[in-house]
Symmetry: C2
DNA sequence: ATCATGGTTCGAATATAGTTGAACCTTCCC
DNA sequence: GGGAAGGTTCAACTATATTCGAACCATGAT
C-alpha cells in the first residue's frame, strides 16, 4: 500500500489570497510558519513555546494553515511531518511569503 | 483652526504584521485597497460595485483598514479622502503590499 | 493482539468579527 | 441659521472563529 491516511491539500493553482492572508493573520499560526521556515518539523516538536496547548487546538491551527495551502501535513511514522509549501505559495503569489517571513517578528 | 475632526492613524513604526494581514484577508477590504492602488479616492466614489451597502458597513470596513495602518482617511470638504499608506507599509514590511497587489485577483 | 504515542474529529461553549438602523456630527450652500 | 450630503459612532443582533475535552484512528513496539 502506498497511500496513507492523508489529509486533503489544495492544489497550488487553487490557493486563494484572502485565505492565505487570513491563515497568516494569527500570531500563533504565523509563528508556526516561521518555525517551518527553517525546515520541515515533526508536529510533536512544534509549538514547544506553549507546552500547555491542548493537542486539539494545535491540530486546528495546522488545519487552517493546511487548508489555506500554506503548509503540508504528511504522515510520518506515528506522527506527522509539517513543512512549508514554499514553492507553491511562491508560484501563485510571488514574493508574498518572503516579505512576510522577513517582516519584523514582534509588534 | 487647523486641526479638523481627524480619526486616529497608527504611526508607521507601530504597524503590526498580523493586523495588516487580517485587514487584507477580507475580500471586500482587499478590493478597496486594490481600488486605492490607482490613487486616492473620495469615499463616496468607493465601493460602487455594491451600491446597496449601508454607509455604516462601509465606514466599518474603512475603520479596520485604517486602524491596521493600511489606509489613510482624511477630511476633505463634506466627505473623506481615502488613500493607501503605501510608503508606510512598504517601510515597515518591504515588498508585502506589492506582492499582494500583484497577486491574482480572483479565486 | 495489545498497548502507548501522536493526531484528527466532533461537539459544545466562548469569543471575536461583521452587519445594520438610528442618532449624531461636520461641512458646504443658500 | 437651516437644510442636505457624507460619514462616524453606538448598540443590538447575527455569523464566524477559537478553544478544548472526549472519543476515535493509525502507527510502531512489545
Amino acid at each position: 500500500m502506498i497511500e496513507t491516511s492523508d489529509l486533503p491539500h489544495p492544489a497550488r493553482e487553487d490557493l486563494v489570497l484572502t485565505q492565505v492572508l487570513f491563515a497568516l493573520s494569527d500570531p500563533a499560526r504565523l509563528e508556526i510558519v516561521r518555525q517551518l521556515d527553517a525546515g520541515p518539523l515533526e508536529m510533536a516538536q512544534c509549538c514547544l513555546q506553549d507546552p500547555t496547548m491542548p493537542k486539539s487546538t494545535k491540530s486546528h491551527l495546522m488545519k487552517v494553515l493546511r487548508e489555506a495551502g500554506v503548509i503540508r501535513n504528511e504522515v510520518k511514522g506515528r506522527g506527522r511531518l509539517l513543512s512549508l509549501r514554499r514553492e507553491d505559495v511562491e508560484s501563485r503569489f510571488p514574493g508574498l511569503l518572503e516579505s512576510i517571513l522577513k517582516a519584523p517578528v514582534g509588534r
